[in-house]
């Protein structure tokens, strides 16, 4: 199962392929905090953020919001277990790393 990890400012976001579907699993946790927030979304919807769309998923583990800010994207998440955190990533860096997770059927 392929996965990529984005670490910035004490926030770690792991994005991995789901072997049960063509979905991606997003796991976020903050350094020093217990628990993690977990979300599921499609590759295309996540990649759309690098093209300028804002993305938010809310579920019972918390919420994640990805907001474009010029050449960067801001990732903010709140986990019910670990509180709020956020970081900035380059849009192109995000898209390039994410590309390895593109479903093979695409």
């Amino acid at each position: 199962m392929k996965s990529v990890e984005f670490c910035q400012d004490g926030l770690s976001m792991r994005v991995s392929q789901d072997d049960r579907s063509d979905q991606l699993l997003l796991s976020l946790d903050r350094e020093g905090s217990p628990g993690e927030a977990r979300f599921r979304c499609s590759f295309d919807d996540l990649l759309a953020t690098s093209l300028g769309l804002t993305f938010q998923v809310v579920n019972d583990t918390g919420h994640i919001m990805i907001v474009p800010e010029g050449p960067q994207i801001k990732i903010q998440f709140t986990s019910t277990a670990a509180g709020s955190s956020g970081c900035l990533l380059g849009r192109s860096e995000f898209a390039e790393k994410l590309a390895v997770l593109r479903p093979e059927s695409v």
Binding site: D44, D45, T54, F55, V106
Partner: protein
């Protein structure tokens, strides 16, 4: 029949303050959902039809499109026409939000195929309530036509 996908809402809004209000309202609501925000009608049609910058992606077929009436460059009315005139998207429900629409404009929106028109309350609490009720109805209670869901069936499964 509804399936067990997580509902997805496409918001078309070019005012950052109002986008932020919708995000906050959805975040604190008890609804489990995904929100995609397009900041122009061009972005919205790009993601819906898989064109322009979004050509390399599968088109997104949300459970509902919520659009501001005066979003640039087309405006909500022309966005409705573009969605209704394309077989891939014509069945997707569309809700229009505005703080200042005339009766004539509202009539025109319905004529073009809007499913609902909502006044934007000025007060955040009222606004949040309106958004939450709208999201709950269109994303969790309403059943869209099977053809509208087909393209997005891949999109969401329970975590």
């Amino acid at each position: 029949m509804r399936d067990d996908r997580r509902p997805t809402i496409l918001l078309v809004e070019d005012n950052p303050d109002e986008e932020s209000m919708v995000m906050r309202a959805i975040r604190r609501s008890p609804i489990t959902c995904q929100l995609l925000v397009a900041h122009s009608t061009d972005e919205a049609l790009g993601i819906l039809h898989g064109q322009g910058e979004f050509a390399s992606l599968h088109p997104v077929h949300p459970d509902v499109i919520v659009t501001d009436l005066r979003v640039a460059p087309l405006g909500g009315a022309d966005l409705i026409s573009a969605v209704r005139n394309d077989d891939r998207t014509r069945l997707i429900p569309i809700v229009v939000l505005s703080g200042a629409a005339t009766n004539r404009e509202i009539e025109e929106l319905y004529r073009r195929g809007a499913n609902s028109f909502l006044d934007k309350p000025l007060d955040f609490e009222d606004f949040a309530t309106t958004i939450t009720r709208t999201a709950r109805y269109w994303a969790t209670l309403n059943t869209t036509a099977a053809a509208a869901r087909q393209s997005s069936a891949r999109a969401f499964y329970p975590l």
